[in-house]
C-alpha cells in the first residue's frame, strides 16, 4: 500500500511544549512538510525568536540559530548572505516582529533580503503571559490592557497590519496572509508558504507569510471558542490572501539581467 501521510523528516518526533489548541504546532508541521518536499532539510537554517517559539529548535530537525528578542531578521540577513544556497527561514511572533524588532524587520524587508519570514500573529504575547501585542485588536483584553485595548483614551495605539505596511517597500516581493483556523485555510496557508520558500530559492527577494493563529490560553477561551474568535474578529481585520506577489515579474527581470 502506498504511504500517503506520515511524520515529516524535518520534524523531531517529540511532544511540543505548546498549549492545547495553539496554532504553532500546525505551522511548524507545515514548514517541515514543505522543507521535506523541497528536499532541503540538510540545507536549511531557521532562526527562532524569543517568545513561545523559542523552543522551535526542539522541533525543527534542521540547523537553527536563536538570536536576541526581535533581532532574528538581522541574524537571518547575515546567515542568508553567508549561505546564499541555503533555505533560511525567520520564524517570528507578533511581539518579536512588530514591537521590539520592528526596525530589523522593516529594514531587512527593504533591503530585499532573500530569506522568508513566517510571522505568527496571535494578537497577544504568549510566553510572558498575555500582554498586549502590536497586533492586539481594539477592545481585546490583555494583562496590560485589562479593560481592552483602547487607542483613544488610554493611548494604546492601533493594531498594526504588518503586511500592508511592508507592501509599500520595493524590496518586498511576496507577502501573504493565511490562518490555521480550519483545514481549508491550513491548505491555503501551506500553498503560500511553499510559494514563498520557492521564491526564496529562486533568489526573488524578501518574502513573508503572516499566519493568524489562535492562543486559547492567553485569550482565556477553550480551543473551539478561540477558533471562532479568530474567525469573527481577526480575519475581518487581517484580510486573508496574497497582499503582494511580484514573483514572476521579478524572475523575468532577473532572467533578463542574466
Amino acid at each position: 500500500m502506498k504511504k500517503t501521510y506520515g511524520h515529516p523528516e524535518s520534524l523531531v518526533p517529540v511532544q511540543t511544549k505548546y498549549c492545547g489548541g495553539c496554532g504553532h504546532g500546525i505551522i511548524t508541521r507545515i514548514i517541515c512538510e514543505i522543507i521535506d518536499e523541497m528536499g532541503l532539510r540538510a540545507k536549511t537554517v531557521i532562526t527562532n525568536p524569543v517568545g513561545c517559539a523559542i523552543w522551535a529548535d526542539l522541533y525543527f530537525d534542521t540547523d537553527t540559530v536563536q538570536p536576541a528578542h526581535g533581532r532574528t531578521p538581522a541574524a537571518a540577513t547575515a546567515i542568508k548572505r553567508m549561505l546564499p544556497d541555503h533555505l533560511v527561514i525567520c520564524y517570528q511572533g507578533d511581539g518579536d516582529l512588530a514591537a521590539i524588532g520592528t526596525a530589523e524587520m522593516v529594514h531587512a524587508a527593504n533591503r530585499g533580503e532573500k530569506f522568508t519570514t513566517i510571522f505568527v500573529n496571535n494578537a497577544i504575547y504568549g510566553m510572558t503571559g498575555g500582554q498586549m501585542a502590536p497586533t492586539t485588536l481594539v477592545g481585546q483584553k490583555a494583562t496590560t490592557a485589562p479593560k481592552g485595548r483602547d487607542p483613544i483614551e488610554a493611548g494604546m495605539g492601533y493594531p498594526m497590519r504588518v503586511l500592508e505596511m511592508l507592501s509599500t517597500l520595493e524590496g518586498t516581493r511576496y507577502l501573504a496572509r493565511g490562518a490555521v483556523n480550519n483545514p481549508g485555510n491550513v491548505r491555503k496557508l501551506k500553498g503560500y508558504i511553499r510559494k514563498a520558500l520557492e521564491a526564496q530559492m529562486a533568489g526573488v527577494g524578501f518574502s513573508m507569510v503572516e499566519v493568524l493563529s489562535q492562543c486559547p490560553t492567553n485569550w482565556g477561551m477553550d480551543t473551539i471558542k478561540s477558533v471562532e474568535w479568530l474567525e469573527n474578529n481577526m480575519i475581518p481585520f487581517y484580510k486573508l490572501g496574497e497582499v503582494k506577489d511580484q514573483i514572476e515579474e521579478t524572475k523575468a527581470a532577473l532572467g533578463a539581467v542574466k
Binding site: D63, A75, E104
Partner: protein
Amino acid sequence: MKGNEAIAEAAIRAGCTAYFGYPITPQNEIIAYMADHMLEMDRVFIQAESEVAAINMVYGAAATGVRAMTSSSSPGISLKQEGISYCCGADLPFVYVNIVRGGPGLGSIAPAQGDYMQSTRGGGHGDYRVIVLAPANVQECADLTYLAFDLADKWRMPVLILGDGVIGTMMEGVSLPPMRDLATLPDKSDWAVGGMYKTGRAARHITSINLVPAQLEQKVFSRFDRYAKMAAEEVRFEDVQCDDADLVIVAYGTSARVALGAVHEARSMGLKVGLLRLISLYPFPEKKLEALANAGKKFLVVEMSMGQMREDVRLAIHDKVEVSLIPHAGGVVPTEEEVFEKAKKILGGKI
C-alpha cells in the same frame, strides 16, 4: 594610513568576510573603508539600520563560521552589549572595535578611555569576558586587529579592539600583514551551522538559552576555565625601563603615548621613571604589576577615565603601595608636562 583604515585593512587581510556597521564618529573611516573594499572582493558589507542590528548580523554571520566584525564608538557600543552577551552565551567568536569618545551619554567626539570598565568586565548582562586589545599606534592598529581574529577563533570568544579618536584618526606609516588565504582559516565545521548536506551530520542549534540552572552554571564554569587558560597565555604589555625605575607609570593607548614622552623627559632629568604600557587590558598583567610592587616601585596610573583602571592596578598589587592617578574625562587628553610634574612630585620633587 589612519588608524581606523589600518584596522579595516588588517581585518580584510585577516580573512574577515562579513562586516556590519553603523555610522558614528570617530570611527567612520572604518565603515567607509569596508564599504570601499569588501564588496569588490565579493565579501559581505552591510550598513545596518542600527548598532543593534549590526551586532545581531555579526551573531548570524559568526554562527555560520565566518570571520565577522563590527565597529562603533562608545554610545553605539553600549547598544551592542545585548548582542555581545548573546554571542558569548552561544560561544561565537568575532572581532569588534570601539573607538572610544567622551561620555557619558552623547558626550563628546573627542578621545577618551571611559569605557574601560565596560570593556574589561564583559559589558553586557551575565557572566562573561572578552579579550581587550589596546593599540597605541597605527602599526598596532593593524597588528592587533590581525591578531584579534586568530585569538577570537582560538578561544572562541569575542575580541575587542579598544582605541580612541586619537588612535583612530591619526596618520602614521604602517607595514601591513599578509593577505590570508581564506582556505587556511580555522575549520569551524564541528560547530557552525550550514552545510549539513555535506556530511549528513545531525542538526545543530546555536543558542544561549538553558533554563536548567545547574546546566547553565556548568556552561559558565567551563567558559571561565577557558578564560583562565586564555589569561595565562595572552597577557601583552610593553615594559619601558621599569627595571631600575623608582616610579612606574601604568597607561595604555593614547595615555601611554603621552606618558612615554614624560618618561623620556624624566630620564633626561635623571629621574628613574618607567612605563608599563598595557596592550591587553583583559587579560590584565596582574603578575607583572605584583612583581613590580614587590620590587618596591611606586605607581602612577595615567588614564582618560576617572580611575577605572587604577582599580585594577590596586587589585593586582593588593594595595601594597599607594597608586597615584592622573584622571581625565570628557575627551581631554593629558599632557606630557602634567605627567612629568606629577612624577617629579611623587619622587620627592627634587632633581
